[in-house]
């Protein structure tokens, strides 16, 4: 039998720390992949109560600094010295990462290194991995992950999203092992195609430096080609899977039909289009309530929108909800709407489908590729979105068929399938001889 590949996975969000799709996807995929390869997973924060069988999980909050330094070989000491002197400012990585990483320094003072590491580790002492000093945290993660990697035997580096890409580049430069970037979300999705800030630069440099890029949809593969200028043969899209859930339906206490939006209320998710769509639907079907579950920087603007006063008693903001509350909402919803402006995947649409809720999603969402049964419209096509919602509410034949067909679509989607595809791409491209 062929020997299992050894994969060094670099993650950022991981259960129980989950802000969005990234943590869910990294967990689902790694768990399924761990049946096919050996995985060592480095995370900024690991929870000792949440370990996955077969995955060696290293949270930077749990590592023993003394041990780390003592166990380091002299070569890795040398490397440690190299990486630790890289400026905390991320800007130097713009386009010339390889040169910087190649720099060599003659001496290294172990005491100084230890002090620096201590300082680096302290930035993970937070409950919010995305707060103010994110750049510094990304930098520290890169340094420490590189030290850890220097003591490990692995064949492939597998990095999830830009926060771990710097670490991925460093480790590739140190080890010469192939770097695989798993792309769940991009700066141009989050902040529009005009965003060319340092995060974009990190993503672009990493993509250029990487050996393989695995976006979660063909849609995102297109974005990578168009906005990052990466050649197609380096990109292999693999769709996300989904965890099976105990889905249920609940009796709603409201007499009206419920149309649900779930997600961050930020420009990327198209909440303003949802709002416009709602106004349009309510004009023709007053017997409908719209629920927006989530929070974000656009919420205030929507509430202050003059149209909101008009819609007020039919349009509800719930704020951020626990998974349990989200599932309850899914269990009473009649339509799920995801009008994202640019969505690499959109796992929540699949969750809605699991709960038997017909989905109306934008064509600019990766999930559209695996849900032929979702009704689709361009995110800006408010008329078509509204028409789709009304049709689902009005025509029972359509509603029933969409729910039925969605179960068929879901039957073909699993993390096991995604992991099998990923493993075969690993083997095709980086087989250990």
């Amino acid at each position: 039998m062929k020997e299992k590949l050894k994969v060094l996975t670099l993650g950022w969000e991981f259960p129980p720390i989950i802000n969005g799709g990234l943590g869910v996807a990294c967990y689902g995929l790694s768990k399924a992949l761990s049946k096919l390869v050996d995985i060592s997973l480095i995370l900024p924060k690991g929870d000792l109560n949440f370990l996955v069988d077969n995955i060696e999980t290293i949270g930077l909050n749990n590592i023993d600094l003394e041990n780390l330094i003592i166990q380091s070989s002299s070569t890795s000491y040398q490397f440690l010295a190299d990486v630790s002197i890289v400026d905390a400012n991320l800007l130097p990585y713009q386009g010339k990462d390889a040169e910087i990483l190649a720099q060599k320094y003659a001496t290294a003072d172990p005491v100084m290194i230890k002090e620096r590491l201590k300082k680096d580790l302290s930035v993970f002492d937070t409950d919010d991995l995305y707060d103010g000093s994110l750049g510094e945290r990304v930098q520290s993660f890169a340094k420490i992950a590189t030290v850890l990697a220097s003591q490990k035997d692995f064949d492939i580096i597998h990095a999830h999203d830009w926060m771990t890409f710097v670490a991925g580049m460093e480790i590739k430069a140190m080890s010469g092992k192939p770097l695989v970037l798993h792309v769940h979300s991009l700066e141009v999705d989050r902040n529009g195609p005009e965003s060319k800030g340092w995060i974009y630069q990190v993503e672009k440099s990493a993509m250029e430096f990487a050996d393989l890029i695995v976006p979660v949809s063909n849609y995102t593969a297109g974005v990578i080609k168009t906005f990052y200028g990466i050649e197609a043969d380096k990109i292999v899209p693999i769709h996300n899977g989904i965890e099976q859930v105990q889905a249920y339906r609940s009796e709603s206490s409201l007499p009206e039909k419920i149309v649900l939006f779930l997600g961050r209320i930020t420009g990327q998710k198209g909440p303003d289009y949802f709002f416009e769509t709602a106004s349009k639907v309510i004009e023709f079907m007053p017997n409908v309530r719209f629920v927006m579950a989530g929070s974000g920087n656009m919420m205030k603007g929507l509430i202050e929108n003059s149209a909101y006063k008009h819609l007020g008693n039919k349009f509800h903001f719930t704020g951020f909800l626990s998974q349990e509350r989200v599932r309850y909402l899914l269990s009473i919803a009649d339509v799920y709407v995801m009008p994202s402006v640019s969505e690499p995947f959109g796992l929540s649409a699949l969750e809605a489908a699991q709960f038997g809720v017909p989905c109306v999603i934008s064509k600019q969402a990766g999930a559209a590729e695996v849900l032929p049964s979702a009704l689709k419209a361009d995110f800006w096509d408010v008329d078509k979105m509204a028409g789709n919602i009304i049709s689902i509410l009005k025509y029972k034949g359509l509603r029933d068929q969409l729910v039925k067909d969605a179960y068929h679509d879901l039957s073909k989607i699993s993390w096991e399938n995604s992991a099998i595809q990923l493993n075969s791409v690993f083997n095709e491209r980086f087989a250990v001889s």
Partner: protein, 396 residues
């Protein structure tokens, strides 16, 4: 042995992307621009060229007979968008070698929902065929060869001598589709069965480079005919006419194949080319074709599932036929015509989800992005149409 060519000619009046917000405002439902464009394209690729080829073959071989079934929807679009197509069919009719077959004028599924409506549409089609081609049809084919025992009986009661349907394996149970069958509970109507293997060799597989028989030559095809059972009396090649030049483009060699095949069969093999009517007059039926559940020539299932297998299709079909009484009460010819065109089976075919997620043949024909869109636009149109009818009835 006999070869029976029957070609199906049909074009639906495709509908618009009619959104919810148009209901109550726009009462035009058909995509005139698209229908015109498609009809003219197919006329150029197929109808005019193939008609000329067949006319030429008939002139060269006076014993070469063929049959057409042309839906009322196709006839109407010829008149609207390209009358010379109609004229070229009339040329063919004048040779006396062409039989025109009866069907429902609107290419509808009326036989499944309302017998009275069904008979009305068949009679309307008969009248149109007589008006255009001077023939009173004696052979009947129901929309997409939908058929069961009752269908044969109804056709016989309406005066037809022959009925066409699909040679479905589960009914034939090892018997070939190459002899003449009779139907239970009927006295004389003859049933002719399509040889789907050989028909689809031409209709579907002709240009398929992955097919073992590609490229199919006249020699290979005739060889297949010669290897049929000794008792084979007729090989019924029932084919969508658009196969020639449209589904199989001219570059595939389909036209030269057709020409060479007919010439070879007549000159060298001494096969006859009888039309269905001539077969019935010349050959006896001595086998029963017993069909309890509906069959058709559509999809691999060869049943009703292309039009009736999901809740959207059931709902849409139920709704259109439930409108009949109100529509007829309006006595408004335009409204009745619109309602009738909305019955065309293609509208329901586009709503089929059977293999939709996996990509299939229904997509090739559908003007819509998805079966759900097909349903939504159709139902929106019916919603508007209901308002129009209501208004018309109030005015009475």
């Amino acid at each position: 042995m006999n070869i029976c060519f029957y070609f199906q000619v049909h074009q639906p009046f495709r509908l618009l992307d009619y959104n919810f917000f148009q209901i109550g405002k726009d009462h035009f439902y058909e995509n005139d621009a698209l229908n015109k464009q498609i009809l003219q394209k197919i006329a150029a690729n197929c109808y005019l060229k193939t008609n000329a080829l067949l006319l030429d073959l008939i002139h060269k071989h006076p014993s070469f007979n063929i049959a057409f079934s042309i839906s009322g929807m196709a006839l109407q679009q010829f008149e609207l968008y390209q009358p010379e197509v109609l004229a070229s069919f009339q040329e063919l009719a004048k040779t006396g070698n062409v039989e025109f077959i009866a069907e429902t004028y609107y290419h509808s599924l009326a036989s499944l929902y309302n017998v009275e409506e069904f008979e009305f549409q068949v009679n309307k089609h008969d009248a149109a065929i007589y008006a255009y081609f001077g023939q009173k049809p004696v052979t009947f084919r129901n929309t997409e060869l939908i058929y069961d025992n009752a269908m044969a009986k109804i056709a016989e009661q309406m005066g037809y001598k022959t009925i066409l349907t699909e040679g479905v394996d589960r009914i034939l149970k090892g018997r070939g589709p190459h002899c003449i069958y009779n139907a239970p509970h009927t006295s004389h109507i003859k049933v002719l069965l399509r040889d789907y293997e050989l028909s689809d060799d031409i209709a579907f597989r002709f240009g398929d480079k992955n097919w073992v028989d590609y490229p199919i030559t006249v020699e290979k095809f005739v060889d297949k005919l010669q290897k049929l059972e000794v008792s084979a009396e007729t090989v019924n090649l029932f084919i969508d006419y658009e196969t020639f030049g449209e589904h199989q483009p001219e570059s595939s060699g389909i036209f030269s194949f057709l020409k060479a095949f007919v010439t070879e069969c007549i000159d060298k093999q001494h096969y006859t080319f009888y039309s269905p009517k001539q077969i019935s007059e010349n050959l006896e039926a001595n086998n029963e074709f017993f069909v309890a559940d509906f069959i058709s020539w559509a999809d691999s299932e060869r049943d009703l599932s292309a039009w009736l297998s999901n809740s959207m299709q059931y709902e849409a079909l139920h709704k259109i036929y439930a409108m009949r009484n109100d529509i007829l009460k309006t006595k408004n010819a335009d409204l009745i015509q619109m309602w009738s065109r909305l019955q065309t089976s293609d509208h329901f075919y586009y709503m089929c989800t059977k293999y939709w997620a996996d990509g299939d043949i229904h997509k090739y024909f559908s003007p819509f992005n998805s079966p759900y869109d097909a349903y939504i636009f159709y139902m929106n149109i019916l919603s508007d149409f209901e308002l129009v009818i209501k208004k018309a009835l109030k005015g009475k």
